[in-house]
């Protein structure tokens, strides 16, 4: 199946031996999906740019205001009244701050929230689902009932309450968002574990005298990695959206710090006078979400060839 579909698309693929691993197969399939690969590299590039470019000397400080250099156009260099030379790649905002470096610094917060909150939700969801599925019986019923009840909760509302109570701490924002995004992950992992736990390798592990905990951590969870990777890729954009909504409502990142959500909010408030403030961050944010969603779809096709796209 793999070699035939490879020759269809005309991409030269190394002939795959029978013993190739699931991961390798998936990587080959992913590489044939051009859109997913493009999204993958795009996402890596955006992340690197956000984190590395600000280290280059000469990139303006994102929070420094230049009262005499307000609303500059793109690709302009100017000298402030303190004699400082500033180059505006995408122009400056209503306080004379560099839009480009503000987008980068906003990206660090947005991506940071995306990664960290996803990590929190991944940890909770995988452990919860694996324990429920492996132990089974009454505990499983109770644990999944709790998930059902939590599913019915209006999460946005819960997050808003948590965030306002705990006074806009950025770190808490990560944890709060992560703590409400784990439900689907736990269901996926539980389903996987249920189908794995009666297989011989678990039997073997048990007969070797391994504890339940060790079986779950060392033997079951590594085997659920495919669906977990797919869902993780889709959780990152979901979390970034949630963070952006909170920042848009003024409940997330507080000024002078920025995230893509708060930048879009600033732009929306001033869209009549200066549309660049709305349009640049919107494009970057939407493109990143695009890339992550396409990558998630591509990974799903690659890791689980049974459920093809249509």
């Amino acid at each position: 199946m793999i070699s035939s579909s490879a020759s269809d698309s005309g991409v030269p693929v190394v002939e795959i031996e029978k013993g190739s691993s699931l991961g390798k197969d998936a990587w080959y399939r992913l590489q044939k999906n051009k859109l997913a690969m493009f999204s993958f590299w795009f996402f890596i590039a955006i992340t690197l740019i956000c984190f590395v470019v600000p280290l280059i000397p000469g990139i303006p400080n994102p929070n420094k205001t230049y009262p005499d250099l307000k609303s500059m156009d793109a690709f302009q260099s100017a000298v402030s009244k303190d004699g400082e030379k500033v180059f505006y790649l995408l122009g400056s905002d209503y306080l004379g701050r560099d839009i480009f470096s503000r987008i980068l610094s906003g990206g660090r917060v947005s991506l940071g929230v995306g990664f960290l909150a996803t990590f929190v939700s991944l940890t909770i969801g995988v452990l919860y689902g694996a324990v429920a599925g492996f132990i089974g019986g009454r505990l499983d019923t109770i644990m999944m009932r709790i998930v059902d009840v939590l599913y019915a909760l209006p999460f946005m509302i819960l997050v808003i309450i948590l965030v306002t109570i705990f006074q806009n701490s950025l770190w808490l924002l990560f944890v709060c968002i992560g703590a409400v995004e784990w439900l689907t992950m736990s269901r996926i992992v539980r389903g996987q574990v249920l189908s794995l736990k009666n297989q011989e390798f678990v039997e073997a592990a048990r007969s070797l005298g391994l504890s339940n905990w060790r079986i779950i951590i060392r033997h079951l969870i590594p085997n659920t990695v495919g669906p977990v990777i797919v869902y993780t890729t889709l959780t990152v954009p979901a979390v970034m959206r949630l963070e952006a909504i909170l920042s848009f409502l003024g409940l997330g990142v507080q000024p002078p710090h920025a995230s893509w959500g708060s930048l879009i909010k600033e732009g929306a408030d001033r869209m009549v006078s200066d549309q660049a403030l709305l349009i640049y961050p919107s494009i970057v944010f939407a493109a990143t979400l695009f890339a992550l969603n396409f990558l998630g779809d591509g990974l799903r096709d690659a890791l689980d060839p049974k459920t093809s796209k249509d």
């Binding site: 009840v149 999460f155 509302i157 309450i161 109570i165 909504i245 848009f248 409940l251 549309q275 919107s282």
Partner: protein, 309 residues
């Protein structure tokens, strides 16, 4: 009989979920230190004493909780501390029509656009039309509400001057607000409908119908539609919960005085009873919607077992 039993147990479940939500929010908002009244200098001492008397705000949290449930069961949601002179009930009564209109109109727009687009794309499977429509839908999913909203405002409000961009009284901003709210769900529903229609269209009974010579349109609407629409109906529950979250953003963008605005303000000002009140309203809405969705699903797909689990 089976059906009645199912409905009964679902109603019980719904009330339990509602109770959980009210309880969780009650204790959650009181986790933070300080009484909601302690920093309100403007309240005269005799009024304060009166309020403490009635709502037990100087008592321990469990006592407050029992009192709150008692008052709630009689339909008393208490006073709003931030909106002086208003009770929570009055604030909600004033603002819910705004949210209800944009919410349900948004949902309506989502269904009216999403389902036909999805069915059409499925019938044109893997053609350029299909790719184009699904590409646009992906765009709709990836562009967040708070990007679409201001852009629509910029285009239809400021450039074309078809709609007002803000306000509620004598303003058409609510139309733009509903559109903003609906577009994301329209995109999602289109993708969902396409996927499940393709699922249904590949089944044996459709092939049988085709072999018997049933026309393509009749197959699409008479045979496949009912099965293909089931996931969309199932999605309506979560969609409504999402719409409520989306309405917070949309009300902010278009300056509409809806429930969402009051909820956010209440959360920021720590107006505890107003938080509890609005959350209760949202929870009732979501739970009722999930209940209706369950019933409609059972009606659409009789094979679905009416079990409580």
């Amino acid at each position: 009989m089976e059906g009645l039993k199912y409905i009964g147990s679902r109603i019980l479940q719904s009330f339990f979920a509602l109770f959980c939500i009210i309880t969780i929010t009650f204790f959650l908002v009181r986790l933070a230190p300080g009484s909601p009244l302690s920093d309100e200098k403007a309240i005269p001492p005799h009024l304060l004493a009166q309020m403490n008397e009635k709502y037990g705000l100087d008592k321990s949290i469990p006592v407050q909780y029992v009192r709150y449930l008692g008052l709630l069961s009689r339909g008393d949601l208490g006073p709003s501390f931030a909106n002086k002179g208003f009770t929570v009930k009055e604030v909600i009564a004033q603002s819910w029509p705004v949210s209800a209109i944009i919410g349900f109109l948004g949902l309506g727009i989502a269904l009216v656009i999403g389902i036909p687009v999805g069915v059409f794309a499925a019938s044109k499977r893997n053609t350029n039309t299909d790719y184009f429509l699904m590409g646009v839908a992906m765009l709709g999913i990836c562009l967040p509400t708070f990007v679409i909203g201001p852009l629509l405002g910029l285009l239809f409000g400021l450039k074309l001057d078809w709609f007002d961009v803000a306000g509620w009284e004598n303003s058409t901003a609510w139309l733009l607000a509903s559109l903003t709210l609906g577009l994301y769900y329209a995109a999602y529903i289109a993708r969902l409908t396409r996927g499940s229609m393709l699922d249904v269209l590949s089944q044996d009974y459709i092939r049988t119908a085709r072999a018997k010579g049933v026309g393509p349109l009749k197959i699409l609407f008479k045979h496949a539609f009912r099965g293909g629409i089931t996931p969309v109906v199932a999605y309506l529950g979560p969609a409504l919960a999402g719409l409520i979250g989306g309405s917070f953003v949309v009300e902010q963008i278009f300056g509409l005085p809806g429930l969402g605005q009051h909820f956010i303000k209440a959360a920021v000002n720590r107006d505890l009873l107003l938080i509890n009140g609005t959350v209760t309203v949202f929870a009732i809405l979501i739970i009722a919607m999930n209940f209706i969705v369950d019933l409609v699903q059972a009606w659409l797909d009789p094979r679905r077992k009416l079990t409580t689990s």
